[in-house]
């Protein structure tokens, strides 16, 4: 059992390492191949002497071949040195860590909202399937699923913050409760799509479970409605977990846009600013961090499968 888990973990680790390598190398190639040079972005339209250009090229090793440049970066990264931002001169790890907290808070709150909204609505729809309430919930969930978080964010901003003045318009607040208060609207914008997805998964799997023989048999034995529902819900754990994983990753990525809408100084706005500036070290850092976070989410979901369904772990134990 323990060795099976260890092997599983190591496999995952190797897989993630490959993904990170491919991604970081891909980004390097892109920058190398892309039109427009780094020194041009740095200098803008200011006049510059040939010496200044050469100094910049030397500082950022821009004359080295692609593979050498990449190797230097990789060697540094493996030693925990992600380089410095071309734009601000700040070390990349400092730039990222000062902004990661906000993104994580936003994603956590968004996921929480999505779970609290989506799962109960999905259960309600399944229990009333075919009736008006079910149809209404399903239509709303399709709309939610189709709504881009930045559009929802703008609509919420316009209505609840600008028109009604119930929520702060921009910024991340002054820490503590104020911070969370500022995050309510952006988190809601992020949660709408996730809630739609969770409604879909929860409703479909619960409808399927409620039709299963074991549910009929439990009712025939005189088990009450609540306990029968608990039976069925327990068996929906795997699809709901799958959806939760999808929601978490989509919210992590979606936060990029929502941060732009609400002018929140998180990883997303950092990434967008750096991308247009061709600030490779920062782009690399943010992309790698988000990829690692997504790998962690997937790992957690897989581990949760085994906890939720003994059949998963039983099969694994047999091998």
């Amino acid at each position: 059992m323990a060795t099976a888990w260890l092997r599983f973990l190591l496999g995952r680790l190797a897989g993630t390492a490959v993904v990170l390598l491919v991604l970081s190398f891909g980004i390097y190639c892109l920058v190398y191949l892309a039109p427009g040079s780094v020194e041009h972005t740095l200098l803008g339209n200011r006049p510059a002497t040939e010496e200044t250009r050469a100094a910049i090229r030397a500082q950022y090793h821009l004359d080295d071949p692609l593979l050498v440049q990449y190797w230097n970066w990789l060697a540094g990264a493996l030693h925990g040195d992600l380089g410095t931002s071309i734009r601000s001169g700040e070390p990349v790890d400092v730039a990222i860590s000062s902004r990661a907290t906000l993104t994580l808070q936003l994603s956590t709150l968004g996921t929480l909202f999505a779970l609290l909204l989506g799962i109960p609505a999905g259960i309600a729809a399944a229990l009333r399937r075919g009736r008006a309430a079910d149809q209404g919930i399903v239509v709303l969930s399709v709309a939610g699923l189709s709504a881009p978080p930045f559009a929802v964010g703008l609509l919420l901003l316009g209505l609840l913050a600008v028109k009604l003045g119930w929520f702060p318009v921009y910024g991340a607040g002054d820490g503590g409760l104020d911070r969370w208060w500022h995050l309510v609207l952006p988190a809601t914008a992020l949660a709408i799509g996730g809630a739609g997805l969770l409604v879909r998964f929860t409703r479909t799997s619960l409808v399927r479970e409620l039709d299963q023989d074991y549910v009929v048999f439990a009712r025939a034995r005189g088990l009450g409605g609540v306990r029968v529902l608990r039976y069925a819900l327990r068996n929906c754990a795997v699809p709901i977990l799958t959806a939760t994983g999808l929601v978490l990753t989509s919210i992590l990525v979606g936060s990029v846009l929502v941060e732009v809408v609400f002018a929140l100084p998180g990883l997303g706005s950092l990434l967008v600013d750096s991308v247009t500036f061709k600030d490779v070290p920062v782009v690399q850092g943010v992309a790698l961090l988000l990829t690692i976070l997504i790998a962690l989410v997937n790992l957690a979901v897989d581990a949760a499968y085994a906890a939720a369904d003994p059949r998963v772990s039983l099969v694994r134990r047999k091998r």
């Binding site: 074991y214 009929v216 005189g222 088990l223 327990r234 068996n235 754990a237 059949r311 039983l314």
Partner: protein
Amino acid sequence: MSALCVDVRGLRVRMPGADGADRVLVSGVDLALAPGESLAIVGESGSGKSLTARSLLALLPAGLVAEGHVEVAGTLISDPRLARPLHGRRIALLMQDPFTMLNPLRRVGAQLADGMPRAVRRDRRRRREEVARRLEEVGLSPEVADRYPIQLSGGMRQRVGIAAALVSDPEVLVADEPTTALDVTTQREILRLVRRIQHDRGMSFVMITHDLRVAFSMCERVMVMYAGRMLEVGPTAQIQAEPRHPYTAALLDAEPPVDERLASLPAPPGSVPAHDEVADRCPFADRCAHVTTVCTAGPPPLLEVGAGHVSACARIRELGPLRRDRGEAAAPPAPVSAGDRALLRVTGLGKSFHGAAAPALDAVDLLVARGETVGLVGESGSGKTTLARCVVGLETPTAGTIELSGRTFSSWDDLDGGEARRLRGVVQMVFQDPYSSLHPVRSVGATLADSLAAFGRPHGASDVAALLELVGLTPAHARRRPAALSGGERQRVAIARALAPEPELLVCDESVSALDVSVQAQVLDLLARLVRELDMALLFVTHDLAVVRQATQRVYVLRGGRCVEAGSTSQVLDAPTHPYTQELLDAVPREDRNWLS
């Protein structure tokens, strides 16, 4: 207050459709059960037997509505909600499939405890003792309580199901085909257990089954249903000796006997109609040998034909007692042919599936001569289907050789393209489930034309029609899709597809086991005729020894991937030498009650 446990009068089950277009599925069912009494409801698929049983608990599938007087343990169930307090405590249901009936994520002990009173559930020690006691009643040891259903065999799961159904000590147990999903030897154990518990507890018992023999051996009274209607109800002994409805007699005759081979199985033509197609007349009229204008003029009344014995045959008084017609015994099958005419010779064949503990097939030898009919018998896990699939090339064996039509190879993968195409014209297969073996959205004619074309044969409309007529269908069937065909018709199409290249060997993998008994008899007759007329060899894979008796000259008995006995069919079935063969023979349902004791 009536003294009856169950009192049903004028039961109707219907499916309300849009804009008032209802479909009726069951009508006119009366049923009365005294305490301790047992009743079997018998019928083929579509007879409405399961819906009748579910109506007793008001647990019909979503979208169906029951009407009429349904009274259980003194409570009139005029609304499904009124049935809830009765569930488990007064009336319990045992379902068909032990693999889906138990909650897969809950340990057995916890599932049993779920039905116990709160005081017992809360007290850990009492709960453990009670669970152990309940498990013991169904012949399981207390350790089973800690297992998940997936860790138990089908028979054990069905025992747990019985214990769970009886946990609140109901007065009535309704069992819906409780052994259909089980192996034959397990079926006998479970039936025995149910009967013993029913006697010990003095419970009333309603059993749903498609098998008249099982009904006779389990219950005091029998009710025969057809197309959603009641055709005959009476004491077991009377119906067994003297059925008073032509359908009951036909059902009995169509059951292949295990002890002798018949020249042909008498089977009524056609298949079970839907309730609404025959609502205005005797539902069996179209298939009945005794039909007159009386039968189609209107729905026949229920006539009293004996003490507690009624029949829905309008002509039963003039027909008198119906003789049971077992059909003519066949001449003993031709002697087993010599090895030099071998068409298929399998030598030392083995197959291990990746990750499986034991091989599915272990050094099996098999011989089929030209024009010979050979049976392959075993329970689930015996390797019989794996062997058949290796022969036709759907599995790759891991050991041994196959010699087919003079060509020897270790697996179909080794053959080059041309050779494989040629040999596929030599051996063809008919699958078990006629519902999944045909392309669901392609017309029957197109499917058959595809096969003819792939073997380079003429494939015009007339060729397809000829193929359809060969299997007893009409050219009009070519335009239909599988969904428009009955199970028997689909299986005929599947056979026609297999016959397209005029194969020398037809492999039938449980090809009649998914069919109703009257349709099974028709298909067995069809296969016998085809073997005769086309001079084909037949390799018939089945779990049913009675089918083997009717369909084959020689038989191999498989168990756990090994062949335990082989020989001529009559020899093996009349005087088995291996104890396992004997066990299988004993497990074939017989009409007498002693079968279970």
